[in-house]
């Protein structure tokens, strides 16, 4: 049943208000603006007043434009034909090919997974980047953001991890993506022959801001369907800051009381609902989420990275083209380190980072003009080797080789009794 109305009472930003009846929360509507169709969704109802967010924006909308309620919620048509295709946030194709018509109609933003049906993640995803594999291993079904600032090579890093990772399906959700970046991803995926196992949902910086709200939901809805069919899915989201800013925009148009720097009080819940889609299903596939969060003003206490950090299972900081060894953390690494990886991995990573932290203190001391002690000299040498061998993101080093390298560095810089490592390991691996 299609209900048509002709009078728009209020237009604020990307939100419109109409008088209508028999409309339900979340229902989709079609707004016809000079022959062009824009999609809108009901976000609040007060008696006969119905408030909608218009995904195409409200520029040019007239108070007498036709609005049709579609009696359905936002859906994705799922089939394996999605692979190799590129879509917008509302599911319409942008690769010049026809829309999908046959397939399973799947609600987007569907219900949460029952925690009782999740399993403990247990597979490591190798990236051959020592800063990740050795110190903060990525685990299947993990959700991890890359905290960065504009200008850092986060998209290339994302692409590199995606292409190296052993996943059956890769889903890219681009939000506020520069057109160049979109082309970069497309090219990278084509080059690696990965297009046939990928689906892209793209919102570029030129598209209406609100449309970006749909990207994570539709990407994750597709991922969920693939995972239920037993596929291991890797979802890449870039950039979640654009998504959060869209939430803020809508909240302000809706005259909600902002909680922190203008962001709505439910920012945490909104982000969590998306990130928590990362899952390892008992008896089916998995979803792993890697997301970029650009930190406004390089400030990790900004509400977006701050709330994200509380949701995700760790974070990678990308500073000056390097993954920061201190702030970066993979919370799930304990599940794989020295369990599926070599026995020395666990202790080694701990000691290596502690020593590098000490090195940094020594460097601070020296920069203030103090004489380094003998021990300091050892640390300085260690720091130099660590940065060269471990932190360079261009190096491709398999995990075992990287661990050997760690022992080699320790051996060259220190004598064994000064390093708090278990005796059995020292006896076996010290070089």
């Amino acid at each position: 049943m299609i209900k048509t109305f002709h009078h728009i009472e209020r237009i604020t930003g990307s939100v419109i208000e109409v008088k209508a009846s028999d409309v339900c929360m979340g229902e989709l509507a079609r707004l016809e603006v000079k022959g062009e169709i824009r999609l809108a969704q009901v976000i609040r109802i007060d008696r006969e007043k119905v408030i909608l967010q218009v995904f195409g924006g409200t520029r040019g909308v007239s108070t007498s434009d036709k609005i049709q309620f579609l009696s359905r919620q936002m859906e994705l048509i799922y089939s394996t034909d999605l692979l190799g295709r590129i879509f917008r946030g509302d599911g319409s194709p942008i690769d010049g090919k026809p829309s999908l018509t046959d397939g399973k109609q799947t609600a987007i933003g569907g219900p949460s997974v029952n925690p009782a049906r999740r399993i403990i993640p247990r597979n490591m995803i190798r990236t051959n980047i020592p800063m990740i594999d050795v110190f903060n291993s990525l685990v299947e079904s993990q959700k991890l953001p890359i905290f960065s600032i504009p200008g850092e090579p986060y998209n290339p890093l994302l692409a590199r991890i995606a292409l190296a990772a052993e996943a059956d399906v890769i889903i890219l959700g681009g939000m506020g993506l520069k057109y160049d970046d979109y082309l970069f991803f497309r090219k990278k995926f084509e080059e690696g022959g990965n297009l046939s196992r990928s689906v892209m949902f793209i919102h570029t910086a030129a598209d209406p801001v609100v449309e970006c709200l749909l990207i994570p939901d539709i990407s994750l809805a597709a991922a969920e369907q693939f995972a239920l069919e037993g596929k291991r899915v890797l979802v890449l989201l870039t950039d979640m800051t654009a998504f959060s800013d869209s939430l803020k925009e809508i909240a302000i148009f809706m005259e909600q009381i902002p909680s922190n720097r203008g962001y709505p009080g439910d920012l945490y819940s909104q982000l969590a609902r998306r990130y928590e889609k990362a899952v390892d299903f008992e008896g089916a596939g998995s979803i792993t989420v890697l997301a970029v969060t650009t930190m406004p003003g390089n400030d990790v206490t900004h509400p977006i990275p701050d709330n994200t950090g509380y949701i995700t299972e760790g974070q990678f900081y990308l500073h000056g083209g390097k993954i920061d060894p201190f702030g970066s953390l993979s919370r799930l690494k304990q599940l794989v380190v020295s369990k599926v990886t070599r026995e020395d991995h666990k202790e080694l990573m701990k000691v290596m980072i502690q020593l590098y932290a000490e090195t940094k203190q020594v460097q601070d001391k020296i920069s203030m003009g103090f004489e380094p002690s003998t021990w300091d000299h050892k640390l300085l040498k260690y720091g130099e080797m660590f940065e060269l061998e471990m932190m360079d993101l261009t190096k491709v080093v398999p995990l075992e080789e990287a661990l050997d390298k760690c022992w080699e560095i320790l051996g060259k810089c220190f004598s064994k009794e000064h390093i708090p490592l278990k005796k059995a390991l020292v006896d076996k691996y010290w070089r």
């Binding site: 008696r47 219900p111 009381i257 009080g265």
Partner: protein
Amino acid sequence: MRSGKVIAINGNMVTSTFEEKVIQNEVAYIVLNENLRLKAEVIRIHNEFCDMQVFEETNQIKVGDSVEFSNELLSVVLGPGMLGTVFDGLQNPLYRLAEETGFFLQRGKYIFPLDPDRVWKFAPSVNTGETLKGGMEIGFVNEGIFDHKIFVPFNIKEKCKILHIAAKGDYKIKDRLAILSNDSGKEYEINMTQTWPVKIPIKTYKEKLLPDTPLMTGYRIIDTFFPIARGGTFCIPGPFGAGKTVVQQTISRNALVDIVVVAACGERAGEVVEVLREFPEIKDPRTGRSLMERTCIICNTSSMPVAAREASVYTAVTIAEYYRQMGLNVLLLADSTSRWAQALREMSGRLEEIPGEEAFPAYLQSVISAFYERSGLVELYDKKTGSVTIGGTVSPAGGNFEEPVTMSTLSVVGAFLGLSRQRSDARKYPAIDPLISWSKYQEQMEENLLKTRSRTWVKDILKLHDLLFRGEEIYQQMMVVGEEGTAMNDFIIYLKSYFLDSVFLQQDAYDDVDSFCSEERQVKMLYVVKKFVDKDFTFKNKDEARAFFMKLIGTFSRWNTEPRESEEARELEVEINKMLEGVL
């Protein structure tokens, strides 16, 4: 049944009309169709309308949908079978839900919290003719390792006479176990279950006592420096990534209490899954039974509906109070109270209340205090004691403790275990910062500590705590004047404090041995550490001093990870003693 009609929907808040009357905080159902009824709670009444928070997604609700009012406050069902079970915030058992609905939580699907078909062995402990009142025991069933007492429902205030009591035997939870009658002849039938409104504390006990015995967690920095009392409260605030959840989980595994109730409130599902999957496999060394048998999990993770998150901490504390009534020591861990506060904030915003700081409602403080006040050591009617200890993590925005939730919490708890980014960045775990943390219980429990640990315990700890401050001071000076500008004496003090920090305060939660340090071992270790701290060392130069302490730390750390009775541990102990005597 009273009913009404939906007139407005705003996020998870629905406004409805009502007939005749409506009760504040009563449960109502929004009827979408005959198969889909969504649970909600009345939270505000104005003129002929009431606002309700809906415990589900509100998609597809429309104006005109009917509302049914239940006449009951939001309640939980209390009875045997809660241990080892995983509930959502509204007490739906998640495993049985999964059997019916599969991978996903289905909206509007509610099932009875306890297994109605399970048979329990009941043994009566009273006789016909005896007089009882609410909260007194009529008998018990065996729930795992515990005698699960069956009480006269807590809401029966008057004295009642037992007309009938069931004989020893097998019963299901809904089977009648007793019939009571009060003076005016009103009769009550009692079975194994009773319902209790979650927002009202259970108070059927004699009196509340001062918590004066330590609750051992196995964490040295907590038990020795910032102890927690049975029946007390503590909070663990910290920025993300500082290891709150690891601390919380390790405590839930190791704490020396009878029962642990975990309220996973608005946090990651993955963390709950670790508990769900691992606890059944881990044996409690004291009982030899699976840890799950002493654990009850209330799980409302961040992607589950927000209003149910608010309810989940109350569900958890009510269950904790119920087991306390059996004379057990219960530990409630709420992770994280900030998410719960955020749920309050979201609702307050929708109600368009005048916001306080950071848009939190003005009543935040009183809500938080009321929650922590549900802890306590109590003397029960049968003279036994039971306790509820409450520990909550706080996730302050930006890791800054000067925010409403942390501040409100600090003003009501007895111990503050603050995690700092600085320590976690340096991988010093647990990242509880000894320079900011405090516990009021060290003094409150002094009498007991002096008896069980050592006669100078509290004084010794104060002295060692001072050393940490002094060490930090010297370290800061050293950053300015350099090592060479630091006097040898100060340098040694710094090294001693570094040593104390490294081997005693830091602890590996993932090491089989080190993750739990018994009280006995803590006392012994502290005794050894103190000897080094008290000793006057003379070194030729700073390098020699540093090398000595580095070696000491290395040896000590290894000692920490060896089982106490092992050959290696003994060898390491000998080596440490030699270092103390200056032989090495």
